[in-house]
Subunit: 440 residues, 2 copies
C-alpha cells in the first residue's frame, strides 16, 4: 500500500471531534476504501488542553491552538476546516487553498455566503474545496447531484433541510402544541440551540438551499437572492387544517428551474399527504430531486449530529485521498463548477412566483363576512379551490381557504386589503402549496 495521505484538522468542536474520532476509529476500513491509509498529523483547537483525551500524546498528532500552523504545515496535504463562522475560517481556508492544499469544510455559512471567492482561489491553485457535510449531514446529496445524477438537467429540488424546524413542526402537528412550547422542548432535548434564530427564521435552510441550487443548476451561490421565511408564525391550527385539506406542512427549501429563471425560496409549504416527503418526521432531513431523465428521487436521513456530519467530512477526505492515490494531474471536480450560459440564469423574485395558497383569516362571525372576503380575493384575480369554515358561536372564527395559483405579489396585495377589512381581527396566515406533486 502507498504512503498515507496526511490530514490536518482545524477546529475540534462537535463536527471536528467527530471527524477525528471517525478517522482514528475506522482507520482500517477507510484505508481499504481509499486505497491508502489516511493519517491525521496535526490538529488545531481553541482549547488544546481539553482535547488531550481525544488526541493522545502518544498518537504522534501535533496539537496546538493555531489553525494557520495546520494550514502552513508542509506535511499536511488535506486541511479539514471544522471551526465554523466566517472569521478566521475564511482566511484559514483561503490560505490552505493558496498553499495548494486540498480542503474539506463543513461550514455551510462560509460556503453559501463566501464560497464563490473560495472556489476561485481553489481554481487558481488547481486544488479542491469539498463541502459535502455542509448540507444535510449524513445524506450525500452534493455528490448525488454532481455525480450520480450528472446526466440530468435538474428541473427542481425540494428539501426538508433543517432538522430542528422539522422536529418542531412534527411535534406541533402530532400534539397540537404551540410553536413556543415545542421550541422550549427542542432546546431541552438539545435539538435546538440556545439562540435558535438561524433554525427557525430559515437562514440555516437558505444556506443549504443556496449550496444545493448552485450544484444542481450550475449557478453561482446566491444566498442574498434566496427568499427566506421561517416557521415561527405558524399556529397548531394551521397544521390541523392542512391535514383536513389533504396536506402536511413542512418547512421546505425549494429550487426550481423555470422558463423565467431559477426560483430560490425557503418557506413553510403545504405538501400532499400522498407524497412520501410528507411522512418525514422528527429531526430527519429529506431531499427530493427531479431530473429530466431519472425522474423523481428522494434521499432521507439524519440532518445533523456529530457522527452523521463527520461521516460526510470523512467521505470528502476519502474522495481526495483516492484522487491523490490515482495521481490525478488536476482536480477531478473543477473547483469552479459553474460557467457558460447556465451560470447567468437570473434568480426569479418571489413576487412573480405563482403558488396555490392556504389562507387562514381570523374574522368576526357576522353576516356577509365570507362574501366580503371573496370579493377582495376576486378583485385580485384570486379564485378559491376549497373552504373550511367551522361553526363557532359568537366571537372570532378562522376562515380557511385554499386558492388556485396566484403570483405572490397579487396575494400580498390581497392580504393587505383583507387585513384592513373591519371583519378581520388578527394577522392572516398564508402558506404556499408545493409547486409539484407526488406523481410528478
Amino acid at each position: 500500500m502507498q504512503a498515507p495521505v496526511k490530514v490536518g484538522i482545524c477546529g475540534l468542536g462537535t463536527v471536528g471531534g467527530g471527524s477525528l474520532r471517525l478517522l482514528l476509529g475506522n482507520a482500517d476500513e477507510i484505508a481499504r476504501r481509499a486505497g491508502l491509509p489516511v493519517e491525521v498529523v496535526r490538529v488545531a483547537t481553541r482549547r488544546p488542553k481539553a482535547a488531550k483525551e481525544t488526541v493522545r500524546t502518544d498518537s504522534g498528532i501535533a496539537l496546538g491552538d493555531d489553525p494557520f500552523a495546520v494550514v502552513n504545515d508542509d506535511d499536511v496535504q488535506v486541511v479539514v476546516e471544522t471551526m465554523g463562522g466566517f472569521e478566521p475560517a475564511f482566511e484559514v481556508v483561503g490560505q490552505a487553498l493558496a498553499n495548494g492544499k486540498q480542503v474539506v469544510t463543513a461550514n455551510k455559512a462560509l460556503i453559501a455566503e463566501r464560497g464563490d471567492e473560495l472556489f476561485e482561489i481553489a481554481e487558481r491553485h488547481g486544488t479542491t474545496l469539498a463541502y459535502e457535510s455542509s448540507v444535510a449531514g449524513g445524506i450525500p446529496i452534493i455528490k448525488t447531484m454532481r455525480e450520480g445524477l450528472a446526466a440530468n438537467r435538474i428541473e427542481w429540488l425540494a428539501g426538508i433541510i433543517n432538522g430542528t424546524g422539522n422536529f418542531i413542526l412534527s411535534e406541533m402537528a402530532a400534539g397540537g402544541r404551540s410553536f413556543e412550547d415545542v421550541l422550549t422542548e427542542a432546546q431541552e432535548l438539545g435539538y435546538a440551540e440556545a439562540d435558535p434564530s438561524f433554525d427557525v427564521d430559515g437562514t440555516d435552510a437558505a444556506h443549504k438551499l443556496t449550496i444545493m441550487a448552485s450544484i444542481a443548476f450550475g449557478i453561482p451561490l446566491q444566498f442574498a437572492a434566496t427568499y427566506t421565511e421561517g416557521i415561527s408564525a405558524l399556529v397548531p391550527e394551521d397544521l390541523a387544517y392542512a391535514e383536513e385539506l389533504g396536506y402536511r406542512i413542512k418547512h421546505l427549501g425549494i429550487a426550481r428551474h423555470t422558463g423565467k429563471g431559477i426560483e430560490l425560496r425557503v418557506h413553510p409549504t403545504l405538501i400532499s399527504k400522498r407524497w412520501l416527503l410528507s411522512e418525514v418526521a422528527g429531526v430527519d432531513n429529506a431531499i427530493v430531486v427531479k431530473g429530466h431523465a431519472v425522474g423523481t428521487t428522494m434521499y432521507q436521513g439524519p440532518g445533523a449530529g456529530s457522527d452523521a456530519t463527520a461521516s460526510a467530512v470523512v467521505a470528502d477526505v476519502i474522495d481526495i485521498a483516492r484522487q491523490l492515490r490515482a495521481g490525478a494531474a488536476q482536480p477531478l471536480v473543477p473547483a469552479l463548477h459553474y460557467h457558460g450560459a447556465a451560470s447567468k440564469l437570473p434568480v426569479v423574485s418571489i413576487d412573480g412566483i405563482e403558488s396555490e395558497c392556504y389562507l387562514r383569516i381570523p374574522v368576526l362571525d357576522r353576516m356577509g363576512v365570507m362574501a366580503r372576503i371573496t370579493r377582495v380575493l376576486e378583485q385580485h384575480a384570486i379564485s378559491i379551490e376549497a373552504v373550511i369554515q367551522k361553526e363557532v358561536h359568537g366571537g372570532s372564527i378562522p376562515i380557511v381557504l385554499l386558492t388556485h395559483a396566484v403570483p405572490d405579489g397579487n396575494m400580498n396585495a390581497a392580504i393587505a386589503e383583507l387585513g384592513s377589512l373591519p371583519d378581520v381581527v388578527g394577522p392572516i396566515g398564508r402558506i404556499r402549496v408545493a409547486p409539484f406533486s407526488a406523481g410528478e
Copy 2:
C-alpha cells in the same frame, strides 16, 4: 475545453437506446459537468437498419452489428455494454477491458454472476468497470455506498429492489386481489415481462443484492450463496393480516453484517408501518442503508425504465470522462474493491438466521386445535407474540401467529410437523419480520 472522450455502445435496446439519446440530447450539460465533451463514435446493434433513426447517418457515428468492432476500435476509450445476457456480453466486456478500455455496463446478471472474473481482468489492465445502472436504475446507490458513505462500517442494508414485485404487492394490498390477477395486469401495463419468473421468483432482486453487498462489505460477489424466495406464494389475506398486526409486506433484499458473518437474503418481509420504507409503493425502488457513523439513510426512486437506467449509465460515463480529463495514472476506484480480512467473511446459511415470523396456518375449526398448534411450536422452542383467530363458523379457518425470534431451521422443522397435524388443511404461510426497526 479538451478533446472529447470517445464512447462506443454495444446494444441499442431499451437501456442502450436511452443512453444514446441522453448522450446526444443533453450533450451541453454533460460536457459542462464532465469538464469535456463526450462523443459517441461507434454503435453496434443486432438490427443496424432499425437503429438508423436514432443513429443518423449524418451524425458521424459508425453503425454496425458487431460488438467486437466497437471493442477493438482504437478510437473508442469507453465501451458501454447494454446488450444484456451472458453471451457474448462476457466476452465483449472482457475483451474491452483487456484492450485497456474503460467499461460501463448495465448488466446485473453478468456482474452478479461473473463480476469477480471481470474485476480481475480490469485490475490486471489498470482500467475501470462501472455498473451503477445494474442496481435500482435511477438511484445512485453504488456510488452512495462506495463514496458517500465510505467513512462508515455498513451494518446492514435492506431494499425494495424489484419494481415489478413491489407493484404486485402494492396492488394486492390495496385491492385485496390475488397474485395471479395483479401479475396479469402488470404484464398488460408493461411492468412485468412476458416471462416474469426472474421478477417474481426473486432472482432479479438477488442479483442486485449480491452487487450491493459486495460494495457495502467489501466481499466477493456471492450470488449462489444468496437465499432467495419469491412472492408467488403470498395470498391477499397475508397482506390484510399483516396490516392488522401493524406491518406491511414488502419483497426485500437484506444484507447484514453480524458476528457470524454476512446474511444475504431475498424474501417477502414484514416491516413496521411506522417505517418510511413501508410507504414505498408501486414500481418504485427504495434502499435503506445503516452505517455505524451516519445512522440510517434511505434512497428512493424509479427502479427501472429506460430513462432512469440510462441516467445511471451516463453518470458512469461522466465519472470516467472526469477521470480521463484529470489525467489520473490509475483508476480512481480500484476494480478489485475487496481484499484483506473483510473479503473472507463467510455468508451465513439461512438455517441459522433468527427471525420473528408471521405464520398463517389453515386449520379445521374444531376443539383444541389452537392447543395442538401451540404445543408443536413450544416443542421447537418457538414462543408466540400475537395471535389473530377470527370466528368463522364451520369449515377451514386461518390461524395467524406472530412469533418471537427463532432460527430458520427450527421454524422449518416446526412447519413440517404442523403440516402433518390432521387439523391443518393447506400449505402454511410463513413470512419473516425485518430484523431491524424504524428507529434503529
